[in-house]
Symmetry: C2
Subunit: 407 residues, 2 copies
Amino acid sequence: MFSFDVLARDPDTRARSGVIHTAHGAIETPVFMPVGTQASVKALTPDDVKCTGAEIILANTYHLYLRPGADVIAEFGGLHEFMRWDRPLMTDSGGFQVFSLGSALRDGVGKIGDIFPDEDPRRAERPLGDMLAKIDEEGVTFKSHLDGSAHRFTPAHSIKVQSQLGADFILAFDECTSPLDDFAYTRRAMERTHRWAARSWDAYAQFGRDYQTLFGIVQGGAYRELREDSARFISSLPFRAYSIGGSLGKSKRDMHQILEWTLPLLPDEKPRHLLGIGEIDDVFEAVQRGIDMFDCVSPTRWARNGSLLIHPAASNVGAEEKLSRRGRLHIYNAQFERDPQPIDDTCDCYTCRNFSRAYLHHLFRARELVVYRLASIHNLRFMFRLMRRIREAIAAGRFLELKAEFE
Amino acid sequence: MFSFDVLARDPDTRARSGVIHTAHGAIETPVFMPVGTQASVKALTPDDVKCTGAEIILANTYHLYLRPGADVIAEFGGLHEFMRWDRPLMTDSGGFQVFSLGSALRDGVGKIGDIFPDEDPRRAERPLGDMLAKIDEEGVTFKSHLDGSAHRFTPAHSIKVQSQLGADFILAFDECTSPLDDFAYTRRAMERTHRWAARSWDAYAQFGRDYQTLFGIVQGGAYRELREDSARFISSLPFRAYSIGGSLGKSKRDMHQILEWTLPLLPDEKPRHLLGIGEIDDVFEAVQRGIDMFDCVSPTRWARNGSLLIHPAASNVGAEEKLSRRGRLHIYNAQFERDPQPIDDTCDCYTCRNFSRAYLHHLFRARELVVYRLASIHNLRFMFRLMRRIREAIAAGRFLELKAEFE
């Protein structure tokens, strides 16, 4: 059912384009996966997501396990039918969220709003001390952020839950360490994650659905020795694809180095997924180093905050957006109050074809619900047009030329 | 440009069906107008609204005057172009909201959330004492609920603003009294409203756009003598259509009586609009007494609260909804957690064709933004299918038979 074919390689970099075949259709790589944490890409229907050009959605096992519950989704035959998305789906293992309850809160790394971007921000005011996760050799015990109820995840349990959810791509259960963890702890955690990878594989062999593909996950924090160890160990197991997880260091440069240490040690013929990354410059840097798959909440979260992606070549980009190198227009700004232009005059999305910046500005100021949908459609459409251009540039041997356009 | 033709009359009641022609297309009556307070029917795009079957939207002058400002909308050529709705539009005069700042708050009638349903409910906690409106013979001075800035509306100013907004149907500026106002005050206010009606007409003759039609408004509270006086006076002016405004008493029975006193005194060949009413039983009672047009936030507000309209003939209506006579299903209820059925198996809306009660239940519990759109689509589609059945029943001479189905 699963296959990955590299169709083109950029002559100047490690960038490659290809196609992954699944039981629910093909995915062209490099691919961006919008995040549907709670079985919904925020503010959008599956039809909306499809219209932006998405080929695959990533959903979060931790959230769906707690609500509505994997058994509810299993009654519907799985997540595809429950949320009515007939294309490929990926689920993560739950590890990231579970450990975020532990180390990230302990260390003050990340805000609750980053860990649970989909929750009401007012929840951030709740005392978090009793939400810590406790880890042991077999798995992790944690309390629900929703109601404080106690739960336990083991590698086998994560795989069973992911089998109930029924996504095409599922992920081995791992411990996600914090950027503040030292070498010794990061190594201990990585070694445990390696043992869990083997247990995840065994559970997958037993419980995985025929069409599901289990991704191995590389850990090791920002330590070269550990990343190399982890890449070697994980690629020694029979996974058909890999995710790069855990702490990616404290700067973008750290992330680039981690990719440079890790990717050459992974089998070239298998897809590589970079967990949780999706800013424009990061996408270029990661593709350049050989990443095939991305997932990130940023484009849709930016959209809900009125931060709209614009192409540097759009003729209606103001000096401010050009200078920012961020390529985002802040639609709340007063300068857009009477602006009759679309967000981006090079964009073919539903929002740009129909609505002015002035109207969107008004809707944001008035907190009208519809605007979160319109902005999300635009930002996702931007991402999928970008990914298509990246694939075309790789095929044409001019990836670095395209990258320079966005710098 | 404006014409109204009565096409059928129910033999047993005063119900009639017909068609209103406008520069932006025809409207079949009795018609329900969804409310787009701030140039947006909450959670929906104009395309969404059109797909539910809407022929006309009502927007609120008070809100649009304050934000984004009538001059901004005028720069776009008017509300049609600004919000991208190419069918008929109606605006109210601003009077209801302005006076709501005064008497309704003074008397504790209505909550701020009812008066400004579109605002963040947390605003209700703001002290309201300084928001009162002050009335004089020429108009009313009030403070913005957004920023406390001072503003003044007169009949001429309301008409000028409505001309800038450019809706097809506009409304004379009136004072909306409270159910707690006594006979003497209600009469004084009504007489002033009558003088304002004449001034509104003069301003309309001067500033109104060619294609705009000014509706006169009948006041008089719950007092028979005043309602009759007002109906006679307002119909003596050259308005081509009428709205029934002001306090409709303290019970549904009061409202029925007010309609029975008022409607026979209005010219039979002109359309009659009942302001702000739209529950199912009210629609039947008002159509029965000769009302042609309705506007109401209830169907979309219910939708956002998870209260979904269901047809009594749907085979998947539970006993609870059948007994309630409200004909609404509360999707938050735990009974829907695993329910694979659509909201209403007689409904042809996008939501019912695609999604289960279980998924909607999950989305509401998880506060996923998309569900406010899905629920609003359903409730509006319900209203437009109901209105079509009412028109067909009138044409077939069996209006009371249809009404009995919903009792």
